[in-house]
Amino acid sequence: MYKTEAIVLKRINLGEADNIITLYTPNFGKIRAVAKGVRRPKSKLGGHLDLLTQSALLLAQGQNLDIITQAQSIESFLTLKSDIKRISCAFYIAELVDQFTAEHVENYPIYRLLHENLLWLCEARSCELVLRHFELQLLSHLGYQPELHQCLSCKSQLAPERNLFSASSGGVLCSACAGNEPTARSISVDALKVMRFLLSNDPTSANRLQMSRELSQEVEQLIREYVRYLLEREVKSLEFMNHLR
């Protein structure tokens, strides 16, 4: 038996009334566990294991997957769950964590980031800001932080002019070096600044950032391309999120 906090990322039906639940935990990273009878109305677990709920759990070692024997919700992020647009963003956040992480790889900063950004998503002025901050910080905690200060090729300090962002090289190239990277795309000085700012600030400070529509779209496109390059596929929940815009 062991105890852990966890945030529910995914639920899959198993058998009559059980679920296999994908959890993100502070000390064990991503794990999957079985919740028995959780779909029955009399289950004591049900409400505490809904998607995107933070719960305190008691687990028992199982043969294959561990079994959740007790659950008590800590934070249900109810404010975000009363707004369909914010829900769609939260699904996207959960999918990113699920896609980018392997089971049983501890990464406490990712747990904290997930928790903080779901809380932020409850109140944020702009959902876009939460998503961009989350994407960049997640990539950084996974070791994919894009190089945004010096040219990846010649190592010279980037000049305050249009440079080029290369998803396959993982950062920015100066215009002189960009010739060898046909897939690199233009990045404005402001987009570069926004990305640096989001990488070095927590939600409270990041929430103060103001972006024009064009700038917001530029940053979104650049990060999206980088995420797609790293995952080698589309993030499925993007479609629903875009559908609601």
Partner: protein, 203 residues
Amino acid sequence: MRIGFIPAAAPISRLIEELGKLPGIGPKSAARLAYYLLRTPEAEAKALAEAIIAVKDKTVLCSSCQNVTDSDPCAICSSEERYHGIICVVKEPLDILALERTGRYTGVYHVLHGVLSPMDGIGPEDLKIKELLARIETGSVEEVILATNPNLEGEATAMYIQKLLSPLGLRITRLARGLPVGSDLEYADEVTLTHALEGRQAF
């Protein structure tokens, strides 16, 4: 030394494999069921096989409510005893069985055949939402009861449909009170469901 593993005779292996695809049936249960079927009298085994074929061959989706039926429109949609001004929207056909068991619901249904599940790539166009809108636009519907399960995906689906329907000016209610969060409607007992139906709230 290990000796080669000899599998069950081919027809039995095949049956085990097929049974193992059913929800809630692991390899051991599949093997047990297969050998059970092997021992059952021929007539019984044939009846089972025929029932499985009939369920695929002789059923269609009702063109009105999308429930599984052997006659189109289905028995509920063509019944004059049902009140056609109230539509109860559910995730799957099993939910209709649960609600019918209460004997208290006199309106008609609409089956979505799923709920929004963006992480699995299931969006609005994968559900029978267009069909629901078409029904409402052509008929004289007064109330739509959103009876998806009380979990995040069920709530998100209800919210999404509510948003689509709200300009149409009909009464939209949510069947949720008394149903614990995270549970499936199909497992709710009649008393709980009756309370939930009677206590449905404007959404």
